[in-house]
Amino acid sequence: MDGTLAAGPVRGWWWRSTQAQRLAVAGVGAVLGLALLIGAFAWMPTSGPPQAAPPLTPVAPIPTIAATSTTTTTVTSTTTVTTTTTSTVDTTTTTTTPATTTVTTTPQLPPPITFDPPITTIEPTTTTDDDVQYGVRAGTPCAPEGARGMTLLGVSVVCTAGSSGKLKWRRV
């Protein structure tokens, strides 16, 4: 007997099961199979084992790209033509000299990348190395009398007393 008459537990259950039970088993099997298949492909590594991330390094300043570039291309060709006739009189041999061509091109590069400095409020700075105070603002108090100054816009001012007697930066 090959089991057709005396079936084993698994096959016997399958034969005696109702159609709803068989559909449920097939459905669960299909879902599990697809989940395993999708999972296997979803987590499949694309190339090699994962590598550790490199250590963090300070960001270097962005260099300025040179605006011009020169590329030199040299093309060399050599052509040798030999012509031989069967005439008993003359034999002609022609040889051309190599031709050398130099092509120089200057590609158009994009303009260099520039960054505008952030807008900040700069307090007036005073430098007395050359007796000129830089970064002053015209109309503000100053000292001593007769001192020279330079505003942020590059206007020369002098510390003088006005009609009220107060020392203020005034234009020369």
Partner: protein, 177 residues
Amino acid sequence: MTNDDVDRFFTLFAKRQQENEGAGDGPRLADGTSPRGLQETGLVRTTGWLQFGSRPVSSAFLAALAGFPVAAALVAALVTTVPVVGILIALLPTLCYGGWRLLTTRLRPASAARDIGTAEVDDVAEGSWIRLHGTIGPVAQVASASAESGLVELTFVGGVSRSWPSGHRLHLAEVLD
């Protein structure tokens, strides 16, 4: 050779032919052919486990249906690296269908059958096909029945017999090929 000899020859020939047909080496289909899933014991292996109404669903079709999502998953995962894998959408279900057909026709021949109802074991008539275990699985053709002490013993074509308690319901089947 006389006419009597000729008549005697054809008479013996017809008798032998009738004896051969009547001997019934195994169960026969309605058209006189042997079921594809016929085994040496006289039982018939069947294929198929799904039936909508009176229409059985081919397991080869179910195999092709199962191969389609597998092919779709393979194509979705590999089509970017191996574009030719897209042919699996058509190839894999076809291979599943053909593989199941090859299995059930050549490697392990099995017959298609449909369930046509149930009957108590006491009422099963000779010549009926019944399921041996439940709603699917092997079928056998009843040759004779005998009742004894609450048990009904059915003897199938081929010689195998099995007993059930009186009143037990069996699934009747129709063997299709």
